[in-house]
């Protein structure tokens, strides 16, 4: 019958007093002392000679190895300071990211052409194991992108070919040098077929590249359709394009595009020959394709014949440049005919290139030859040097009147023209210089010195040889470069390259300053800010690395002076940023850096907001990285950093993205944490006040400030050991006030709640009762504002679990908060009850009832004679009221109200047939009543019994749980010999589940 089984909706609560001490003893679990933090990663550390196997933390994995005694020199030291911090640093993902940063290829690709030296260092790491050839092949691949980016044009280009549709037909007269007797000469591969030639004029660079790409696919297609002669013809026509040096500034890019096609062609020929030549391994009859490392005598005669045909065909190409290029492209296929004749062939081709009159065309042909030669993996390297010497012997041609005439015609200045040589020349010389000895450098340097206008050569030498060699001769190079003629290769590039070498390798220490002075005498005369910053960007690293802060300061001053002329800095922000970045990364003493009088002026040069913020960010992140656990109290540094942080902070506005805000917030928080005035708490607080005034926009910073101030208050208490003097009392009052007025400016409700509670607790700790009350009251008024849905780790979640746990925490605090004399009994708790009452709980969930159960817990504890915990020097209600009957009655009344609320919720659950929830809630309440209420009162006992029945009513209660509950209660009551307990227990019957 519902009428009898449903418990009444009201009852009189009488709290029971308990023996707390005894209970606590019973509650305690066996504990064990541990030495290590369980979250600390298992680090294998090599102590000098031994690795000792130890029981690991928590005994979870016994097989891993740790060193027995962490000594300060070991790597685990960094972690041991902050156990949670241990998780950073060894994070495998970030480690991976770091490794990727080191990836030499992507690093090289990102670099522009003028910085080959920087890439070289990374490359050498790789090639050390992979061997030189792979390294260079790879390096070419990454160079290509650089060349294509750098050498561009807006001029119109033209293509003459017979393999593309479109364009206008032209009649190309075969260049015949001999009086035509009878047209009976060999059918020539490189002659255009009559009528098929089309000339495409006025192509933009983009269109041109498209056409080349089209030719490329045309070639591959022709090849796969077995039209090999057509494919060859396309290859020839492509290489013919390399003769044409009109639109000269595009030539290097053109070379890259076309050499790609030739590479493909060469590979097609080679692969075809290899797959065609079936090879019978000795002793077996089954033909198999040739293995990768075959020797010529394994190649069958038919394949050799095909191969020979290719070379005969190519040898009959009329024009020199196409013939050379196509032969170079298929050079690798010589391995089907003979082995070990590559070095001869390479030398022959080296000589034949001399026939190319245009020095630019020739140098790129040499570059291609070196590239092909290296890919063939011939151990012979003589041809590389020959190629460079051949270039040297025609070096004067670069400055010949005919070249100059062509340049004036094309409106290209000499220095631009010379930079066109760098990619090819650098590649050639780098292949020569790889693994070369210092003697080679000396030889080559001597030869180059004899040439006039040798700036281009010096630049290449510096870029090619090991920086260590260059650095050892730094003073010599400075002299050479200084004496270079003004005309020709741009000087700033020379010094830039030298700078790159010197940052990678150290020049003799005694000359460091002198070198800089000599170089800067010239560089500071540069009037073009672009050229100037180009050098400064590189040399700043040299200065930062080799010289003292004083020189860095002077250097920055010079940069400011140069870049301020006509607001030149506006167009060079990225370079200036690099300057800052380099100064920062080499600064081993941040404090002196910040105290330099040119540092902040340098910062002022970044007038564009976004750039400035970026720079500030990098300064701050360097700062936090370098000074992980150090603090500062130097006013100059603090002011400087404050200024920098303010710049970052002021950049935040409504449009700033969340991530940016987080970044800036973290950086500023880090700064706030680093500032420490030691025992001068007043000044510390005033710093926090200043910080609050400066950083008004970001929640995190406010939160950090509140935390810091709370900590300050707690520190104060520690120092006075709880006995506040008048002065310290007023100081902690100030702290509490600071918190109280700072928290409202935070926008996140959850953060505010946490901080109010924390501040309240701290205030309480410091005996600031009024402030504590105020904080807690503020928190109470906020609970209603908590949004229903909150975002945790990017997922939408209900806020209820959070609220419940927050209220629990709050209740624990409330227990010890003494009642204010002006307010009624348990004023704050009543307030909380009102909040719970009015909070719009989700009716389906157990949130409200759970909270009420906890309130019951708290109230029943409040009724005890002495509370389980206290705050030193703060008298809680147990002392204030001394278990006054009126107070107890008040508590009981509140309990009754709460129980009523729970009962009505039970009813609600019953109505909505949520029986399992109803059953568990009933059981929970039963246990509360049984353990915390006075069961001698028949009302309560009946209520408890009813609840017991209710919980079993719908068969939702697990029998095992029921059994254990009764056992638990039996055990609980076993201590006291009251008969009503026994009776109560006896009345708890477990219904067998009949259904």
């Amino acid at each position: 019958m519902p009428a009898t089984t449903t418990p009444r909706t009201s009852c009189e609560w009488i709290s029971r007093t308990r023996d707390r001490l005894q209970e606590n003893v019973k509650k305690q679990l066996p504990s064990e002392e541990i030495l290590d933090h369980p979250l600390k990663p298992l680090v294998v550390t090599m102590s000098e000679t031994r690795i000792v196997k130890l029981r690991t933390v928590g005994g979870s994995t016994t097989s891993s190895t740790r060193s027995s005694t962490p000594t300060p020199t070991q790597s685990s030291l960094a972690y041991s300071m902050d156990p949670l911090g241990a998780l950073e640093g060894s994070d495998p993902l970030s480690q991976l990211a770091n490794q990727q940063k080191m990836d030499p290829l992507s690093a090289m690709a990102a670099e522009s052409w003028v910085e080959p030296v920087e890439g070289k260092r990374g490359k050498e790491n790789v090639t050390a194991s992979a061997g030189m050839d792979d390294g260079f092949q790879e390096s070419w691949a990454s160079r290509k992108a650089g060349i294509l980016c750098k050498f561009t044009t807006s001029e119109k280009l033209s293509i003459v070919t017979s393999f593309l549709s479109g364009g206008e037909k032209v009649v190309v007269k075969a260049q015949s040098s001999v009086v035509d007797k009878v047209r009976t000469r060999l059918e020539q591969l490189d002659d255009f077929e009559e009528g098929s030639v089309r000339q495409m004029l006025d192509l933009s660079q983009q269109e041109y590249m498209g056409r080349i790409e089209q030719l490329n696919s045309e070639l591959v297609q022709a090849w796969h359709q077995d039209q090999r002669v057509k494919a060859l013809k396309i290859a020839i026509q492509c290489s013919k394009l390399l003769v044409d040096t009109s639109v000269i500034q595009f030539y290097p890019s053109k070379f890259v595009l076309i050499s790609d096609i030739l590479d493909i062609f060469g590979k097609l020929v080679y692969e075809r020959l290899r797959t065609k030549s079936d090879y019978c391994a000795p002793g077996s009859k089954v033909p198999t394709p040739l293995p990768e490392n075959f020797t010529p005598d394994m190649v069958p005669e038919s394949a050799k014949e095909t191969c020979r045909n290719w070379f005969y065909k190519i040898a009959s190409i009329r024009e020199l440049v196409p013939r050379l290029y196509v032969e170079m492209a298929i050079l690798k296929s010589y391995s089907f005919l003979t082995s070990g004749e590559f070095s001869q062939g390479l030398l022959r081709l080296t000589r034949m290139i001399r026939g190319i009159g245009d020095p630019l065309v020739a140098v790129y042909a040499r570059c291609y030859l070196c590239r092909v030669g290296l890919s063939i993996n011939s151990s012979d390297r003589v041809y590389l040097r020959e190629n460079f010497y051949d270039f040297l012997s025609i070096y004067n041609q670069l400055f010949s009147p005919s070249v100059r005439m062509d340049l004036t015609f094309q409106k290209v200045d000499l220095s631009t023209y010379l930079t066109l040589y760098t990619p090819a020349l650098d590649y050639i010389l780098q292949s020569v210089a790889h693994d070369a000895t210092e003697k080679t450098l000396a030889d080559i340097l001597d030869r180059c010195k004899q040439k006039c206008n040798s700036a281009l050569l010096f630049n290449t030498i510096m870029a090619a040889f090991k920086p260590a060699y260059i650095a050892a001769r730094a003073t010599q190079f400075v002299e050479l470069l200084t004496s270079c003629d003004e005309e020709g290769f741009p000087k700033y590039l020379l010094f830039r390259t030298l700078g790159l070498c010197l940052t990678l390798a150290d020049p003799p220490t005694e000359y460091c300053l002198q070198i800089l002075n000599d170089v800067w005498k010239i560089v500071s005369k540069l009037t073009d800010p672009a050229q100037y910053i180009c050098c400064a960007e590189v040399w700043v690293q040299y200065v930062a690395k080799h010289l003292s802060t004083r020189e860095v300061n002077t250097f920055l001053g010079d940069i400011i002076k140069h870049m301020s002329v006509g607001r030149a800095y506006e167009s060079h922000y990225s370079s200036l940023q690099t300057v800052m970045e380099r100064v920062l990364s080499h600064a081993n003493d941040f404090e002196t850096l910040l105290t330099m009088d040119k540092f902040l002026p340098m910062l002022d040069i970044f007038q564009k907001e976004s750039v400035k913020v970026d720079v500030c960010k990098s300064i701050m992140s360097h700062y936090t990285k370098h000074y992980q656990y150090q603090t500062t109290n130097d006013p100059v540094i603090t002011n400087a950093l404050m200024f920098i942080c303010r710049v970052m902070h002021d950049s935040v506005n409504a449009l700033t993205v969340e991530d940016e805000k987080r970044q800036i917030g973290n950086l500023i928080c880090n700064f706030v944490k680093r500032v420490d005035f030691g025992r001068d708490f007043e000044q510390q607080l005033s710093f926090y006040v200043e910080a609050r005034a400066s950083f008004t926009n970001l929640d995190v910073i406010h939160a950090q400030l509140v935390q810091s101030v709370n900590r300050l208050a707690v520190d104060t208490r520690c120092i006075v050991k709880g006995h506040h003097t008048r002065k310290t009392a007023s100081f902690v009052h100030a702290c509490a006030a600071y918190c109280y007025i700072t928290i409202p400016s935070i926008s996140s409700v959850l953060m505010k709640l946490e901080l109010y509670l924390l501040s309240g607790q701290v205030a309480l700790l410091n005996q600031c009762l009024g402030q504590a009350d105020a904080c807690l009251k503020a928190a109470l008024s906020l609970i209603a504002d908590v949004p229903k849905i909150i975002e945790i780790d990017g997922k939408q979640k209900s806020s209820e679990p959070y609220i419940v746990s927050y209220i629990c925490n709050f209740l624990s605090t409330l227990l010890i908060v003494p009642d204010s004399p002006e307010q009624g009994v348990l004023y704050l708790t009543r307030g909380l009850l009102n909040v719970i009452q009015n909070y719009s709980w989700d009716p389906q969930s157990a949130g409200r009832a759970t909270v009420y159960l906890y309130v019951l817990d708290m109230l029943s504890t409040a009724a005890q004679e002495s509370y389980p915990y206290h705050i030193d020097m703060v008298d809680s209600n147990d002392v204030l009221y001394g278990s006054d009957p009126k107070f107890i009655a008040e508590l009981n009344r509140m309990c009754s109200v709460v129980v009523e609320e729970i009962l009505s919720h039970l009813q609600y659950l019953g109505k909505n047939e949520l029986f399992s929830k109803q059953s568990s809630l009933a059981l929970d309440l039963l246990i509360r009543i049984a353990t915390k209420a006075d069961l001698s009162k028949p009302d309560l006992a009946t209520l408890a019994l009813n609840l017991w029945n209710l919980s079993q009513k719908h068969g939702c209660l697990d029998v095992k749980l029921a059994v254990r509950t009764t056992e638990y209660l039996k055990k609980k009551f076993s201590g006291c010999n009251q008969e009503y307990y026994a009776e109560f227990i006896s009345r708890l019957k477990i219904k067998s589940q009949v259904k």
Binding site: L186, V243, S302, E305, Y312, A315, G355
Partner: protein, 300 residues
Amino acid sequence: MAIQLDIKLKKHNKVYWEGENVSGVLAILSPTDFKHDGIALLLDGTVNLQLSAKNVGIFEAFYNSVKPIHLVTSSIDLAVPGRIPAGATDIPFEFPLKPRSGRSLYETYHGVFVSVQYHVKAELKRSFLNKDLSKSQEFIVEYKAGLPGLITAKPEPVNFKISPESLQNIKDKAKVPRFLVTGHLDSATCCLTKPLTGELVIERCEVAIKSVELQLVRVETCGCAEGYARDATEVQNIQIGEGNVACGLSIPIHMVFPRLFTCPTLITNNFKVEFEVNIVIVFQDNHLVTENFPIRLTRF
């Protein structure tokens, strides 16, 4: 699908020496079986002579030297009349390569007025309602090493020096720009299988050079002492210098002799095949200077 005939020679490069056996198979591919009246195979080597247009007429009147010279002919019957089954049928054959009496074998050469060619021809006779089928396959004859009377290449360098003074047939010497080109060919007697090599240096030149080229020329002579037709035509033209070649730098002369279109220099009673190399220097204004070098080609 019709019946297909194919002659497959055993040697991939199809190069044979005198005295060797030319062997291979006649491959017949037919969708159905068919009757035939016999299959004959003919080995044939001839020198074809032709008079160039400008000479025809003068010589034809009193000379008859233009009819082909047969160097070798032999024939075998590969099969007596009968049936060939459907599918692929391979009939092997073998000829000894022996010249006709009083003749000797020359190397294969494809020229303009003179050519030396060797063929294996197969003829499949069928009843008069069907057309006879035939197939011809060329093979290449080369001299064998150690043949008596063969000249072998040896280095005999030819130095040259080209300057305005050395030029012939110029009308106005004053118009010729000042220049000096020196160099050498490694040998005037060249082995066919090795490239022609040498060096060339533009010592000085007043005007820009457009191109430096190497021209291979064949000189073919038909007829004999009483009257003959001599014609020089270009075999190939190889560029060795492109654009304004740097002065004082030695440029390699390098030319691979094309196969088939060259042969060892050949001098017989009725015809001659000889070769020359021209070094051609083309100036920017398209004027050109040519220096001629007769060369002797050898097999070894």
